[in-house]
């Protein structure tokens, strides 16, 4: 399953609905000045894959991921991010006949929070299983956050073993 599209709204510095499309066979780059929101995109992906720790998203509470307002705009009431995958037929579950599979996460400032698969509300557990089937993870080796690239060299032999087990 490859990632086809990413939609961000109300998440961190993205109050407006923002869509990123990813080409098959293509390398996608993201550039821009310091603080413009590039790493926030990475946070949006990890959040939707089920990241439960606000601290690992640079926040103090999960509410910190909701757009906090700017000089001209007031704070958003909700953050929503949707990941859309191209189903290459590798899934074994109830979603196997869909051409595309989308996973969404929503958080309201009230604290209410939802997960959706193909627009249908579900549990975090369902999202995690789906993502795991697809080979994804909010904390796997495939997302290397800013400043963390050298961690693997410093890791202990047991930790390197754990990475091999993850890939098994």
């Amino acid at each position: 399953m490859r990632l086809k599209r990413l939609e961000i709204q109300g998440f961190k510095s993205f109050p407006e609905k923002t869509v990123f499309k990813f080409q098959e066979d293509g390398l996608t780059g993201v550039v821009g000045p310091n603080g413009c929101g590039k790493s926030n995109i990475v946070d949006a992906v990890r959040w939707t894959l089920g990241e439960q720790s606000a601290k690992l998203l640079r926040g103090q509470a999960m509410e910190d991921v909701i757009f906090n307002g700017s000089d001209r705009r007031k704070a958003a009431g909700m953050a929503e991010v949707t990941l859309t995958f191209e189903n290459d037929g590798s899934l074994e579950n109830q979603w196997r006949d869909y051409g595309e599979i989308s996973v969404s996460r929503r958080l309201f400032r009230t604290g209410e929070s939802d997960y959706l698969i193909n627009g249908v509300e579900c549990r975090l557990k369902d999202v995690r299983e789906l993502i795991a089937d697809a080979g994804g993870s909010s904390r796997g080796y495939s997302i290397v956050e800013q400043g963390r690239v050298s961690l693997m060299v410093n890791s202990k032999p047991e930790e390197k073993r754990a990475l091999i087990e993850e890939a098994a």
Binding site: Q23, L27, G29, V31, N40, V153, E165
Partner: protein, 154 residues
Amino acid sequence: SKERFVATFEEVSRNFSELFPRLINGGSAEMVLLDESDPLNTGVDIHVRLPGKRLRNMQLLSGGEKAIISLTMILSLFLVKPSPVCILDEVDAPLDDENLGNFAQIIREMSSSFQFLIITHNKLTMEAVDVLYGITMREPGVSQVVSVRLKDVA
């Protein structure tokens, strides 16, 4: 199971030894099982050789060398068990021009089979991508996207 771990280890290890010299010219590297007689519990380590250097311990390596070793490991694992996307946020920051070029080339090749999203400030890396999303805060505090297609993608 024991067989599955060993099989996975061997595949990751093959990728590791094949990728490393392509990321650092003249370099060679292996992954090793610390205790081959105990595959169910043994830790895994890395041995690296860099041109002319007698390596004493991995911590003495430079910032760039360590980043490249880590990246090689990440890509080696990814080739064995890919995810829907591989996201690399400013991993090229410590790299010199030659290693930047090697890195860009490897990522380009891999991107024909896997989805990569790479965040960078580096001109060499920017030139290697097919689609470039520029993020701005033209309205202060608000991220907006401008997409720039650099190359025709079939």
